[in-house]
Structure formats: structure tokens, C-alpha cells
Symmetry: C2
Subunit: 406 residues, 2 copies
């Protein structure tokens, strides 16, 4: 087997953790596998470097910020390579540029265009362990670039594709994806296999284990991902292409998010372009709008309701209040005691009536639905926050997730 292993900031966060991480690498080598490693910066290091930059300048030059921050992964890669060498493993660290990660020139949010050369593959085949810095590359002129938050996952997947690995293992501090939050539903199960599409929905719902881009990339090249714990040597969750096994389960899991607030702008004179008028200023303020529902227009007026993270609630309300006047709308209302519940599953495609069943379950539990939005494999409802545990438990049980993982 050829394996790319990605270790996050906590897995290289101290010299003790670096030793544990080296244990994991060595264990795979002992099984006769070829291994390459991708590492994040030691936890806290990126923030330390960013803080220095902010002290120099409120808006530090993006090219220099990337050059600065990229040193974080270079430090952890060198330390892990040292630790492996000291155990007799032939290990060498590579910066993004040395590993041949060529990106576009968009500093702080670069996209990988290509991984140049097959030298890392040759190293792996000769028994060496390349330890590659995640999160970074160089553009075509050799400037250091970074891939944006969570970019190390994307680095790992890209490397795995480039060296034709059998699997890309993502080590974090959780041991996989669960059917729902075990703190709310003690019978929640670890999901053994999940499709890329479902993983994408879970990732967008706030499951922080994997960056969306890395899942998209893995899906495009059909690279299996294994999400697992660097603390416990147990099998985690495999993220793979949808297959027949999966078709049997209607839904894979129930996700929720309390960190949402709802805003409604009411009685807007209905005319083309009003959605752009409403969301333009919100986007400019860097606020991430999630669920959006526009009611059917009555008598030339319409209502738009949307959700934002709680932290952006007040500033969004302020934007909406001034927009309300400009647009001659009737009123703005807000509510920050709401929550979002979603059911996700590729099985939805072939099983009619999942939405109806979800609404029935919630109605029987006495939970009122405020907003609904759907995708091909996901149904999301917004409800009063106080009902969240009740709703999650009822859905988890009704969709047969209490017994075992899909």
C-alpha cells in the first residue's frame, strides 16, 4: 500500500506529540507500506506569526504574510523528519516549493494547479518518507503562497493523487464522523463509510474535520480518505465513492448548528434585483449567509428570511435596518435563538418521502419548523433553539441510526 498521512496542528503541537506522530508513521512502515507525510504548523504557531504581522501592519502585504506564515509548517516538518531520522527512518522534510506544489498567485487563498515532478514518488518507492509542509506552495514565479484555512487537508489529498496513493489518511483529534453528536444522542455511531457528497454536506454543516475543498478534490480523483484519530489507533471513517452498500441507508446522519441567527426583511417592493440589493452589502461586510428563503410575493411585496452566524447577528441587523429604509421595505425582524437541523444521505435520492417523514417526526415531537431548505442529499430545517436536542434525538431514532452506523 502507498499511503499519504496528514497530521494537523495538535498532532505536531509539542515535541511529545511529534514523537507519538512518528510512532504512527513507523507503524505503517512496519506493515511494509510506503508512506509520505503532510503536516500542519504546530498548534498556535500560525496565530503567533499572524499576530506579529498584525503588529507591523493592520493590512500586511499578502505576499509577505504568506512567506511569514509558511515558516510554521517548515518548522514542524523539519522537527518530525528529525524525529524519524533519529529512529533510523530515512525521512526528509520538503517545503511546498521543494515538494513541487505549484499554485496560482492568489496569496492567502491559493489553489494548487499542479504538483511538479515525480521525485516524491521515487523517494517513497525507495523506502524514504517525505515529510511535506501542508498549506503552502509556490506560484510559477517562485513566490511562496498559502492555501487558506484548512489548506493542509487539500495539500495531503493533492499529494496522494500525485503519488497514486491507495488512501489519504487524515489524522485529527476525533476518530471519525458520527451519525450525530454523541453528547446529545449517546447511541450515536461512528459512520464507517460515507460518500464524498455526504461528506461535503457534513463539512458545510460545520463538521470541522475536513476542509470542503479537500473533499471536492478527493471526489474528483476518487481518492479514498480515512478520517482517524492520532490519539487512538482505531479505524475511523472512510470517505469513498458512493457504492451499492450505501444505497441501503436512507440517511447517514443528523447534523445541527446552534450558532445561527435568523433575520427577516419584510414587505420589500418586489422587483428584479432585490436579492442582490439585500445580500450585496452583507457579502461586502464579509458575512457568510447560510439558509435563504424568499416567500412568494403577494400584492407586489415579498419577504426575505436568511440566517447568519450569531457573531454577525448585530452587524447584519444594522445593515438591514438601513437597507429597509433605502428599499422602502416595511420592517426588519431578527431572532438569535434559533438552530438548524439537517439530515444528510445519498439514500434520499432513491427513497421518496424522506422530507415528509422528517416533517412528520418533528411535528409529532411538537417542534415547529420556521424555514426549510433542501439539496439533493440534504434537508435542513430551522427551528427554535430550545428544541434542538429533542429534534436531533427524534430524527436520529426515526431514521434508524440508533442501532449501528451505516
Amino acid at each position: 500500500m502507498r499511503i499519504v498521512q496528514k497530521f494537523g496542528g495538535t498532532s505536531v503541537g509539542s515535541l511529545e506529540r511529534i514523537r507519538k506522530t512518528a510512532d504512527i508513521v513507523q507503524a505503517e512502515l512496519a506493515h511494509g507500506n510506503q508512506v509520505a507525510v503532510v503536516v500542519s504548523a504546530m498548534s498556535g504557531e500560525t496565530n503567533r506569526l499572524t499576530a506579529m504581522a498584525r503588529e507591523v501592519s493592520e493590512q500586511p502585504a499578502a505576499r509577505e504574510l504568506d512567506a511569514l506564515i509558511a515558516t510554521g509548517e517548515q518548522v514542524s516538518a523539519a522537527l518530525l523528519a528529525m524525529e524519524l531520522q533519529q529512529r533510523g527512518v530515512s525521512a526528509y522534510s520538503y517545503s511546498g516549493g521543494q515538494a513541487g506544489f505549484i499554485t496560482d498567485g492568489s496569496h492567502e487563498r491559493a489553489r494548487i494547479k499542479n504538483i511538479e515532478g515525480n521525485h516524491l514518488l521515487a523517494h517513497m518507492q525507495s523506502g524514504e518518507v517525505p515529510v511535506v509542509t501542508g498549506f503552502q506552495g509556490v506560484d510559477e514565479r517562485g513566490n511562496v503562497t498559502t492555501l487558506g484555512r484548512g489548506g493542509s487537508d487539500t495539500s495531503a489529498v493533492a499529494l496522494a493523487i500525485s503519488v497514486h496513493a491507495n488512501v489519504c489518511e487524515i489524522y485529527t483529534d476525533v476518530d471519525g464522523i458520527y451519525t450525530t453528536d454523541p453528547r446529545i444522542v449517546p447511541t450515536a455511531c461512528k459512520i464507517k463509510r460515507i460518500s464524498y457528497e455526504e461528506m461535503l454536506e457534513f463539512a458545510s454543516l460545520g463538521a470541522k474535520v475536513l476542509q470542503t475543498r479537500s473533499v471536492e478534490l478527493a471526489m474528483r480523483y476518487d481518492m479514498p480518505l480515512h478520517l482517524r484519530s492520532s490519539f487512538e489507533p482505531v479505524t475511523g471513517t472512510m470517505v469513498v465513492q458512493e457504492d451499492e452498500t450505501m444505497e441501503r441507508a436512507t440517511i447517514s446522519g443528523v447534523a445541527y448548528n446552534r450558532d445561527e441567527a435568523k433575520i427577516t426583511i419584510m414587505g420589500i417592493p418586489d422587483q428584479p434585483g432585490i436579492a442582490a440589493n439585500v445580500f450585496g452589502p452583507v457579502a461586502e461586510a464579509g458575512i457568510n449567509v447560510d439558509v435563504i428563503v424568499q416567500n412568494v410575493s403577494e400584492q407586489g411585496y415579498t419577504d426575505i428570511t436568511f440566517t447568519v452566524p450569531c457573531g454577525d447577528y448585530q452587524s447584519t441587523m444594522n445593515i438591514m435596518r438601513s437597507l429597509c429604509k433605502q428599499m422602502d421595505a416595511r420592517d426588519v425582524k431578527g431572532d438569535d435563538s434559533i438552530a438548524k437541523v439537517s439530515v444528510v444521505g445519498v439514500g434520499m435520492r432513491s427513497h421518496a418521502g424522506v422530507a415528509k417523514e422528517m416533517f412528520d417526526v418533528l411535528a409529532n415531537a411538537g417542534v415547529n419548523i420556521q424555514m426549510i431548505t433542501t439539496s439533493e442529499i440534504k434537508i435542513t430545517v430551522v427551528i427554535e433553539e430550545k428544541y434542538i436536542e429533542l429534534a436531533v434525538r427524534a430524527l436520529h431514532s426515526a431514521f434508524g441510526l440508533d442501532e449501528e452506523g451505516s
Copy 2:
């Protein structure tokens, strides 16, 4: 004028110091000069990184140690470039590899072979300020290398040569080279101009402002160096090719070193190879021998006396005691209360009798000379430590240095 400015660790040691350093760069630009900057790591950073490596491994892999430590200069270069950009200066940081510093593959003590490409010159000519990491480069396979202690001086000189600069300015926390230590001789003067050869002698005598290799490189390519203070905007010491002006002064300065101990191994049966027998084990122990004097052999026996740094005195004595038995020598004696005084000057070449004058001055001051060693432009004597201030003052005065710098 085209100028390369090198700033050491204290000049970029804090964000406040980085701002002062940016002031200096901006001042040169305001004079219409083209400027490139070479920076060391923030003071303390290299030690912090090295300490982490030593915690991982007593003998960290040299390649990884270089990759780790090279991040220190990358951080300070990025921060200084940010600071300059924030003032509207078009400044960009370059790692050793990005700047085209190609070295041999000797990790931790690499030598610069070549600076590839003229892109930094083109940047300077278009008004940009390259901020280049000192102390580092890449070998021909792209591995990060470091140049060894003080290597940033060498980086700066090499860059100055490569871009055909008019001068290479070395900013430190002292404002130049003095005729002797002003703490001993209050009338000591700053030396305005000094030859490369003299600077080499001063550097080897422990003047810590410049690394020997950087002076050799500057001498070979006739690159003028300007040693100056980053704290005070005054002219420092110019290190240039020997010229007629210099011929007038007999000696340029008086240097001393208290940190020496003397060891004599007596009555060694005189035969070819004894020096190698004596100094082989000392070199293997990594001890730096300085002055060596071998007395004329009498009746088939000879004495060898040499000096070592005080910190290596006891271990060297132990080595010598066991050697004494092996070589059938008569005895070993040591003395750690000695000091070394040197007079340095290119004028010595054309002025006969400098040695005689030096010995006369010391004799008149009642200072007994224990060892003598000479080079073309330097005479060094070893004396009892307690006479050191007396000797330095007498020589400084006798050679006419009290009035003004040469």
C-alpha cells in the same frame, strides 16, 4: 549609488527595532540610492529553534536542522518587507533559494558557489527593495543550507558583489572598529578606513563585528564594507583595499584577548611528526589552538607551548597529561592567567623595527613577554594577564594612536 545593507539580529530583534531599521532603509532611498537588504534572524530566534531540535535529538539531522533554522531569517525578512510596504516602499522578501544563493551541500557550514540570475539587480533598478534572508541558500538539488555562524555577513557581501553594489553596509550595535578598547584607553579613536588585511587580523583577534569569511570575500572582489551602527546615524569604519593613505600609519590598532590559557609540554623526544601527535587529539576534541611556539630542540628534546580558550583549558590539560606519558615527555605545565596583545597594521610592511619598538615599549613598562608570534601585518605577544591594561595603554600611546584614528 547602489547599496546592500545588512542588519543583524538586534536590528530586527523586535517590532520596534524593525521600524527603526525601515527608517534607515527609507533614508537611503530618499537619497536616490538603490537598496537591497540582507537580514539575520530576530535575536534569540536561532537559539530557540536550535533548542527545539536538540530536544528532539542530540544530533539532529543536519539537513533538517538547516531547514528548521532557515525559517528564522524568513520570518524577519517578511516582517521587514511588510513594514517597508506599509510605508509605501515597494519591498519584497526573498529566501536564500528565491534570491538564487546556490551553495555547496555542506549543511550547517555551506559555502556560496554562485548567485543565480540577475533578477534582484533588475528589481533594484526598478526601484524595488529586495529583503533577502541572510545565512542561507540552497544546494544544487534545492535542499536548504545554512552558512554557519555569522553567515549573514557573507550573504550580504556576496549579494553586493552580485548586484555590483558600490558599498556593502554592515549594521550592528557598534559604530565601527576602534584603535583599541575604549574601556581601557579612553582616547581610543574610531578607525575611519582600514584595509581588508587589517580587518582580517582584527576579526581573527576576536573583533566580533565581522565574520572572517565575509572579509575575505569582500577583499577578493574589492567590495568596500562600511561597518556602522543601527542605533546612531554616524559614519562608521570603511574596510577597503589598501591604499597610499594607509601607508602613513604604522599600525592601525591594538587588540587584546584575556580569554586565553597557555599550556607547555616539555621534554618531548624530538622526532618528525611530534606536532601532529600533540595537536591531533586537541583538534579531534574540537578545541581551537591559537598561538603555537616550538622551542629549538636541545639535545634531542623539544618544548611546545600553545594557547587555547580558557573554557577549554582543563580538558586540554587532561589530554596533554595522558599524551605526556604516551610520548615519554618530561612534564606538562599550564597557566590560565595570561593574555594576548597584538598590534596590527599594514604600515608594518614598510616600517622596519615595529617589533623592536613593541618589545621596547613593553620592557619599559615592566611587562615580561612569554610568547611571540608574528604575521606580515601583526605582532602578537602573550603576557601575564594582570599587565594587560598597562600594555594596551603603553602600546596605544607609543604608536601614536591617542591623537586620532588612522
